[in-house]
Symmetry: C2
Subunit: 231 residues, 2 copies
């Protein structure tokens, strides 16, 4: 049975740019599950299964509705325990939480002030006002001010990748010899950035690019084939 994934989309319905939705998309592919994605805009609360918090990803699997990327990963791991594991056990699941918390507090927090204006540009016309207002409130500045001089902030972002860089210098994936959910968490942040911005985050010789390339190749180039910038 095909699983439905409500997936954040921009003005072009094929351009999918939620880091959290990419986690779910990659996790579904990891489990080898058929999926149909529904493009969804920031303000379409009414189009999601009810009740909802106005956020994606949401999946519908038969009679089961699951909200939130972490809950989705846990659901898939339990419901499809016979398929390749996302966590490799409870210790792996717990440590994936650490990777998630690093991704959200360091990586995504570092990326957003660099690309937030690009998100605005790619979002649907009817979402522009909502997006600008909510994000300018959060930052206390205009989006244009937030991204100003972003080149000068690249060295700090790149330095903040040290834990990731050292890890994938010594093993092909964050999760070891093969990718698993922790990789999808971190990859979601990079795929989000490249889906909506031509501002390259990584230096040409950064080993993190090699890992990102391996992630883009997975599942028949699932993420590489999606509308995005750069390699």
């Amino acid at each position: 049975m095909t699983i439905t994934l409500y997936d954040l989309a921009g003005a072009e319905a094929d351009r999918r740019f939620s880091p959290f939705c990419w986690r779910a998309r990659m996790a579904l592919a990891h489990k080898g599950l058929a999926v149909e994605t529904v493009p969804w805009g920031f303000t379409e609360k009414d189009r999601l299964p009810q009740p909802n918090a106005g956020r994606v990803p949401v999946i519908v699997d038969g009679d089961t509705v699951v909200h939130d990327s972490t809950a989705i990963a846990d659901y898939l791991e339990g419901r499809y325990a016979d398929k390749p594991t996302l966590f490799g056990g409870e210790n792996g699941r717990a440590l994936a939480r650490f990777v998630q918390n690093w991704t959200e507090t360091v990586l995504q927090a570092g990326i957003i002030p660099l690309v937030v204006l690009d998100i605005h540009r790619h979002s649907r016309m009817q979402d522009h006002e909502y997006f600008r207002r909510s994000r300018e409130e959060r930052f206390g500045r205009t989006l244009e001010e937030v991204v100003r001089d972003r080149e000068s902030r690249l060295p700090a972002l790149r330095a903040s990748l040290d834990p990731l860089r050292r890890t994938i210098e010594r093993q092909d994936f964050i999760s070891g010899n093969a990718p698993a959910y922790a990789d999808y968490i971190v990859f979601g942040a990079f795929q989000w950035a490249r889906a909506i911005s031509d501002f390259e985050l990584l230096a040409a010789d950064d080993p993190v690019r090699g890992w990102r390339g391996r992630m883009l190749d997975l599942y028949g180039g699932l993420a590489r084939r999606a509308p995005a910038y750069g390699d």
Copy 2:
């Protein structure tokens, strides 16, 4: 058979303050193995099993000598596979590497400029010159200059703990419901600091203190009973 652990010691032989040795010490306790520690000073290359790189931890288990905390954890996990696992499988082992790389590039790198003069004060008199010279070369400043105004750098250190803080706000240990090697890696950094410095890194209400307390309680208060400052 008792395992021997060469363990970095200060002027007081009981004051053990290597973050890497604490990883090994906790891993040995996790496996329930009997250990005899040998206090070792920075410059006692000749007192370690030969050949050596002049660094601890080193363990001797019968005819086997293992250098380096990571190699020791891998050795213990393989040799004592029947004892409680340090990693919970290959995914957990791979993700523990990420936690290790975060600990070394963020946490330990953030702590050392705050406590390096305290390490000097606690090291053996005959190690003072070596320690000061090697560390001042690394920092390009005197140790006194490195720690100057350290209070002003506490907020940045505390903010850098966000990935850890969020994780242990939602689960008792980094590794989940029970501690495992990733916890020992991070704990080693805190135990190092508290062993040689009365400069408290954590705010009184920081949830990280709760986790640190749980770590101090493990194995009959192994780390709590060791000479150190604060709680």
